[in-house]
């Protein structure tokens, strides 16, 4: 069966906006369920042969990201500041291409734990935050986590982590071969009585469903996979959606508005093609999977007389409660060579500090892993000790790179209404649409926990026998590829944007599913959950459609 091509005047069953981690799954699930699906993706469609090992272009020229020239963003910490145009790195970072950020991500694939869904009930309120329970629990999502692992392709070792939540099936592939960073993390952590375990990664450790296994080239984080071993939707969900014969993926199609008729039903979307010609695509229902920054922006750009504050925004929460996750690093040098530039980033992780502990005096939970970080340029610039930034001491560090590793810590971000994505009042993009404005300031507890976890990582490196250990400064976030919480799900239309099935409370045939749906941030590796949510949402949306309930 070949991919469907829809004519310009055809009305499709579903238009899916975005083809990334969630959009790819949604397209596959809805088309396999028998519906006609058009996916509109703003970026181009690459093949594996298009991806390069070009750290300069990919990391420092944003080759896979939105161009800040044509899709500018502004950033501020609080409402009191005037947002400034960001210059080098997008505040809301995502890959702009078919497959979205599932192409350039690191492929850490952690499930949420049971506690993530009900932490507010367990811990109580946290003043000044929108800390809330999810409307669903882990048990409800578990079958869809398993589906991600098998349909998308995840390598790991079931039962290895004593902290893992219950699972209905083992991983379909064994863990990737351990690297020296994993061995040392494991050595140090075990000495301290912790429980390191093989990292679950969305990278094929063995040939899987027609895709080759990892060649250990070392260019995962920030790069598209030339081997098709990384389980990006570009290689997994999208081709399978097209193979259903009812799905078209239309790349270089930038959606700028969702229209709603007098009956308050979405009628379709307006988009620009690659030549900046505007089109309108009619659809019986609209599913937005544009990521946690672009989804709220699209809703806000779709304001109308009937929805003056933006579409589906009766709660006023569209774009709010943005969560980035925290990140901190410990650097370490060892006696012998690790050669961390080879293979995948992460092979061992520690989840002993996953749960929040009120005794610490601040909220927070997370995990840490062993890795190098983004390739030679990135490690040299950002992971070396700041007090040896140049000169002979700096060069000595560069020469020690084969013996270096990083412990990367990933933690919670509390939801704060002030942290948000909205429309910049002055700046426009190259299509004349309002630029994205990002307002973000870490909660003090988030930074406190990030420092706490960094300390634990440093202890692990000392216990592993490192010759040198240094902590990189923990700084307030000004950007992130984790874009979460901006159209949160919930049962109450006053305090959430979508219901437990991802249907907007305000517009019956409009659904949202991506990082924006998340109520809490998890511990830092959201893509697994985004895809599980998408499988679950696709399942329910297809059922609604079949029952005439859309």
């Amino acid at each position: 069966m070949t991919a469907r091509k829809f004519g310009p005047n055809e009305t499709v069953d579903f238009v899916v906006v975005g083809s990334g981690a969630a959009g790819g799954v949604m397209a596959r699930e809805l088309s396999r369920a028998g519906f006609e699906v058009l996916v509109l993706e703003q970026g181009p469609r690459f093949t594996a042969a298009d991806f390069r090992h070009d750290e300069l272009d990919y990391w420092y020229n944003n080759a896979l990201l939105n161009s800040l020239d044509t899709s500018p963003q502004t950033f501020r910490r609080t409402d009191k500041e005037k947002a400034q145009r960001v210059r080098d790195v997008p505040a809301a970072m995502y890959a702009r291409m078919v497959g979205g950020s599932s192409n350039h991500f690191t492929a850490n694939f952690w499930r949420l734990h049971e506690v993530d869904f009900k932490e507010r009930s367990l811990l109580g309120p946290i003043a000044g935050t929108s800390f809330s329970d999810w409307p669903i629990d882990y048990a409800e999502l578990e079958p869809y986590y398993t589906k991600v692992e098998w349909e998308v392709g995840v390598s790991g070792l079931a039962g290895a982590s004593p902290f893992d939540p219950p699972r209905s099936k083992p991983y379909p592939m064994p863990p990737l071969p351990v690297k020296s960073s994993g061995v040392l993390l494991e050595r140090g952590a075990r000495k301290l009585g912790l429980h390191p375990f093989p990292a679950p990664m969305a990278i094929a450790s063995v040939p899987y469903r027609g895709r080759p296994s990892c060649a250990h080239c070392g260019f995962c984080i920030g790069f598209g996979c030339e081997m098709r071993a990384k389980s990006s939707t570009l290689y997994t969900m999208i081709p399978e959606a097209e193979a259903a014969g009812r799905c078209e993926v239309r790349s270089e199609s930038y959606v700028v508005r969702i229209d709603v008729d007098d009956r308050n039903r979405a009628t379709g979307v307006a988009y620009f093609d690659r030549d900046k010609r505007e089109h309108f695509q009619k659809a019986r229902a609209v599913v937005v999977c544009a990521n946690g920054a672009e989804t709220p922006r699209l809703l806000l750009m779709s304001a109308s007389a009937k929805h003056p504050d933006g579409l589906a925004n009766s709660s006023g929460l569209v774009g709010r409660n943005l969560m980035f996750n925290t990140y901190s690093e410990v650097g370490a040098l060892f006696e012998h060579e690790l050669n961390e530039y080879k293979s995948v980033q992460v092979t061992r992780i520690v989840h002993d500090f996953y749960d929040a502990d009120p005794k610490r005096g601040f909220y927070g939970g997370g995990g840490f892993d062993g890795r190098l970080g983004p390739n030679p340029i990135g490690w040299s610039l950002f992971s070396t000790p700041p007090d040896r930034a140049w000169g002979a001491g700096f060069k000595a560090l560069l020469e020690a790179m084969p013996r270096a590793m990083v412990v990367a810590s990933h933690g919670t971000s509390l939801p704060l209404e002030a942290n948000r994505v909205d429309l910049d009042p002055g700046l426009k993009d190259a299509w004349g649409r309002p630029a994205m404005r990002v307002t973000y300031q870490d909660h003090p507890d988030d930074l406190a926990f990030s420092r706490f976890l960094q300390e634990r990582g440093a202890e692990v490196m000392e216990a592993a026998g490192a010759q040198q250990v240094w902590k990189l400064p923990v700084v307030e976030a000004t950007m992130s590829p984790h874009l979460l919480g901006t159209c949160r799900m919930g049962d109450d239309p006053r305090t959430s944007v979508v219901d437990r099935y991802h249907r907007t409370h305000d517009v019956r045939n409009l659904f949202l599913c991506d990082g924006s749906s998340m109520v809490t941030s998890g511990r830092g590796q959201p893509t697994m959950t985004i895809q599980a949510l998408a499988f679950r949402a696709g399942d329910h949306i297809a059922r609604f459609a079949k029952r005439g309930e859309i």
């Binding site: 594996a48 042969a49 390069r52 090992h53 070009d54 750290e55 300069l56 272009d57 420092y60 020229n61 020239d69 070792l157 039962g159 290895a160 004593p162 902290f163 071969p177 351990v178 690297k179 020296s180 994993g182 061995v183 040392l184 494991e186 429980h195 093989p198 040939p207 080759p212 296994s213 060649a215 250990h216 080239c217 070392g218 030339e226 081997m227 098709r228 060892f334 012998h336 060579e337 690790l338 050669n339 961390e340 530039y341 080879k342 293979s343 002993d352 030679p376 340029i377 040299s380 610039l381 930034a389 140049w390 000169g391 002979a392 700096f394 060069k395 560069l398 020469e399 790179m401 084969p402």
Partner: protein, 203 residues
């Protein structure tokens, strides 16, 4: 000349003896395509013609870079041709940032000259004088940009004009190959295997 054959031969030579035949059989088409591509972008011939920097600017840029990653027992930024990288990317992928770089450089040169009357340019100063001066400006945006460009010029693909003869990659021990098989390092080579936990720590 058939480029495909050359790079495939290189690739086979690089990976020969380390890959199982069966594994190669299943992975070959993807590997061959990827290796071919990687080969093309990694082969840059050194181009020493300046496109943006005037000679006096190039001398100072090279001198600054040579303090950030000095030469010594092993080559540094100077030998890696970082100055050519700075020049070429200023006419290429970082062309938009070139005016700011040149303005920063002009301010650097002016300040150095004012504080060292009669000495000439930064590049003409002694090693000790250069070091002493850089310590007073190493928190400036211009120095930070120079640090970025020096590291990038050392470690980016040679096709951008730096990393001549892969000197930068040699400094950091990075080997330009497309495929690796375990063991990757000293510690994983000696790893005994993952030992499952006997007891559940969950309460």
């Amino acid at each position: 000349m058939n480029k495909n054959n050359t790079s495939r031969r290189d690739f086979l030579r690089a990976s020969g003896g380390t890959l199982g035949v069966a594994w190669l059989g299943t992975q070959w088409p993807q590997l061959a395509a990827a290796a071919e591509h990687a080969h093309e972008v990694a082969s840059g011939n050194a181009d020493h013609a300046f496109k943006v920097l005037a000679p006096s600017q190039a001398r100072d840029v090279e001198a600054i870079a040579a303090q950030i990653v000095p030469s010594g027992a092993t080559p540094g930024a100077r030998e890696a041709g970082v100055v050519y990288f700075v020049d070429h990317v200023s006419a290429g992928i970082f062309a938009q940032r070139a005016p700011e770089l040149l303005a920063g450089l002009a301010a650097f040169q002016e300040d150095f000259a004012r504080r060292h009357p009669g000495l000439g340019s930064f590049a003409d100063a002694s090693d000790a004088e250069q070091l002493a001066y850089l310590k007073t400006v190493d928190a400036t945006p211009f120095f930070n940009t120079m640090r970025f460009l020096t590291v990038a010029g050392l470690l980016a693909l040679p096709s951008y004009g730096g990393n001549e003869n892969k000197i930068g990659w040699k400094i950091v021990g990075f080997v330009d190959r497309h495929v690796w098989t375990p063991p990757f390092g000293w510690y994983d080579e000696r790893y005994a295997g993952f030992e499952p936990y006997a007891k559940e720590p969950r309460s």
